[in-house]
């Protein structure tokens, strides 16, 4: 029995639960909002099993677990509930971090994605390239960086922002940096690729769009793409280094075919990619979870038992 831990208000969580149930992954849902409003928790940090009490029903939080611990505090009607939401989310994250990482899909043991520039520095030394980047609140530094090359800019944190081209007229806005820093990056001309990693399987999708940020382009064209073996292997290694089972890694591939790492998402919104791939990512997640328990319901080593199946490249370790 799997526990699905997340918010019913989160479309990705709803999609995940639905997709996994359709594929035979049995489980109970523990809703974060419900837990904040009317639940109790008892979570040891020694790797032993904790529990949640929801409306008088006790849920043992034993692996395997599927979690999406999004911040729901912004939707809380008052300050007290917002504090409780943050405390519950943080406590569950700490509990999950104490469990074996490969038995939690969606555990967050690595928050490096919060600081994109820092994560880029951690991703160096692999088969991909890193785009030249300048994160700054200094207008002079930004102006110097932008003068030397074509540049895009975006938010420094994991909060959702759109990437935009830096144009000459934006120079007049650089003094605004004093209020909040911005991440400037060399512009890579080419197409985007999102690589989803599930265990040691990778699923690539290329996105060709006219705009700088394909998420803003309704005419963007999506197509499955074969991820070069060294890149695929490094995606798996990076995901494992982040102590994740499931990740979404973003690349820009230049016109010359060079792969540039942009960021790795520890809680990817994968449903659109999954639908276009005919459910291959969900299949892999279900395989991973179903293969994680033996006939007696005991959790076994997951990563060593993920079977190969159509729809994903299996990467060598």
């Amino acid at each position: 029995m799997t526990i699905f831990l997340g918010s019913a208000a989160d479309p990705t969580f709803r999609y995940t639960v639905s997709a996994l149930r359709q594929r035979g992954v049995e489980g109970e849902i523990a809703d974060l909002g419900h837990l904040v409003l009317a639940g109790d928790l008892h979570l040891p940090l020694d790797g032993t099993t904790g529990s949640l009490d929801l409306a008088g029903r006790c849920h043992e939080l034993a692996p395997p677990l599927v979690a999406r611990l999004i911040d729901i505090s912004a939707a809380a009607p008052d300050r007290e509930l917002a504090q409780r939401a943050r405390a519950v989310q943080c406590s569950l994250a700490n509990y999950l971090a104490a469990l074996p990482w490969n038995q939690v899909v969606g555990g967050i043991q690595d928050n490096s994605n919060f600081s994109k520039a820092y994560q880029l520095s951690l991703a160096r030394g692999r088969s991909w390239s890193i785009p030249r980047t300048c994160l700054t609140n200094d207008p002079d530094q930004a102006a110097r960086f932008a003068a030397a090359r074509s540049v895009i800019y975006k938010g420094a944190s994991s909060a959702k922002t759109w990437a935009r081209e830096f144009r000459p007229e934006d120079t007049a806005r650089l003094p605004l940096l004093r209020h909040a820093p911005v991440l400037f990056q060399e512009q890579i001309t080419g197409y985007d690729v999102r690589v989803h990693v599930v265990g040691d399987r990778v699923f690539g999708e290329a996105v060709r769009a006219a705009s700088c940020d394909y998420r803003t382009d309704r005419a963007a064209a999506f197509a499955p793409v074969s991820v070069p073996e060294p890149i695929a292997a490094d995606c798996v290694r990076l995901t494992r280094a982040m102590r994740l089972v499931f990740s979404g890694v973003d690349f820009k591939v230049s016109d010359a075919g060079e792969w540039f790492f942009l960021e790795a998402n520890s809680a990817p919104c994968f449903q659109g990619y999954d639908r276009r791939l005919g459910g291959a990512i969900s299949d892999a997640l279900a395989d991973y979870l179903l293969d994680s328990t033996d006939a007696a319901g005991n959790v076994t080593s997951m990563l060593s038992r993920v079977p190969s199946s159509a729809g994903g490249t299996r990467s060598p370790r």
């Binding site: 040891p44 405390a87 943080c90 928050n111 600081s115 820092y118 390239s129 994160l135 909040a180």
Partner: protein, 252 residues
């Protein structure tokens, strides 16, 4: 320059500013992080270069990170961008940093198996007490000796331990200052266990931290609590020694 990053009313930052002055180390409080110039550049192979400067242009060479002060004038998104920028800058700063950010968090938070998180704390056993912290903020709330008072935070982090068997240390740079030894003394094995844990905590980015070890039922000394944001009362009788050791390390 030493950057002392912490909330406006943080007495530890104030005391460290005085200690830096005594040690002849130029230092400044970071009360308004948006006013400091922060630049992190990554070259084509991902190598990071940090340029962190005080509002007067003085370059920062080392830092004490006791959390980024809130910025009431910024919205949540802008504050996140500021935090993400300081996170990268302090993680990649070539000089010494107390509480260097890591992939796990802006403030290092070593995992300790002895505690549990709960919304409904259970009564302590008769042999031990429990230190109770706010699970989200890490703020110390009370020490429970038997029953717990009504909840003072949404989720509590409860750490049961036997105070008579506790060994309290202050990590100050590369030194560990002993604050309290257990009533039954310390063996060589205890000290070796303590040193091993301290090495782990230093590698995790800690530089000024209260560390509490306690002999468990099996006789082995284990760390039961680490506070990366200690307050002055935690080491009031050793303040000068701790701060002097820390300044020596930061300047080194």
């Amino acid at each position: 320059m030493l950057a002392l990053i912490g909330h406006d009313g943080d007495p530890v930052c104030d005391a460290l500013l005085r200690a830096a002055d005594r040690a002849g180390l130029r230092a400044a409080r970071v009360r308004d992080p948006a006013a400091w110039k922060v630049t992190v550049q990554l070259d084509g192979d991902g190598r990071g270069r940090v340029d962190l400067r005080a509002p007067d242009g003085t370059p920062v060479t080392c830092a004490v990170n006791r959390s980024l002060p809130p910025q009431p004038g910024l919205g949540p998104g802008e504050y996140n961008d500021l935090l993400a920028t300081w996170w990268a800058a302090l993680a990649l700063l070539p000089g010494r940093v107390v509480n260097r950010p890591s992939p796990q968090g802006f403030i290092p938070s070593p995992r300790l198996p002895g505690a549990y998180l709960t919304t409904r704390p259970r009564p302590c056993g008769t042999a031990v007490v429990a230190n109770v912290h706010d699970a989200h903020t890490g703020r110390f709330l009370y020490r429970a000796d038997g029953e717990h008072p009504s909840a003072q935070a949404p989720v509590l982090r409860v750490t049961p331990f036997d105070p008579g068997r506790a060994w309290r240390l202050m990590l100050a740079g590369d030194q560990a200052v002993e604050l309290h030894t257990p009533a039954d003394g310390l063996t060589q094995r205890d000290r070796a266990a303590g040193q091993a844990d301290i090495r782990t905590f230093k590698a995790a980015g800690l530089g000024l931290a209260l560390i509490v070890l306690s002999r468990a039922g099996d006789g082995v000394m284990r760390t039961v609590a680490v506070n990366p944001l200690p307050s002055l009362p935690h080491y009031q009788d050793y303040e000068e020694r701790v701060h002097s050791a820390l300044m020596g390390w930061l300047a080194g």
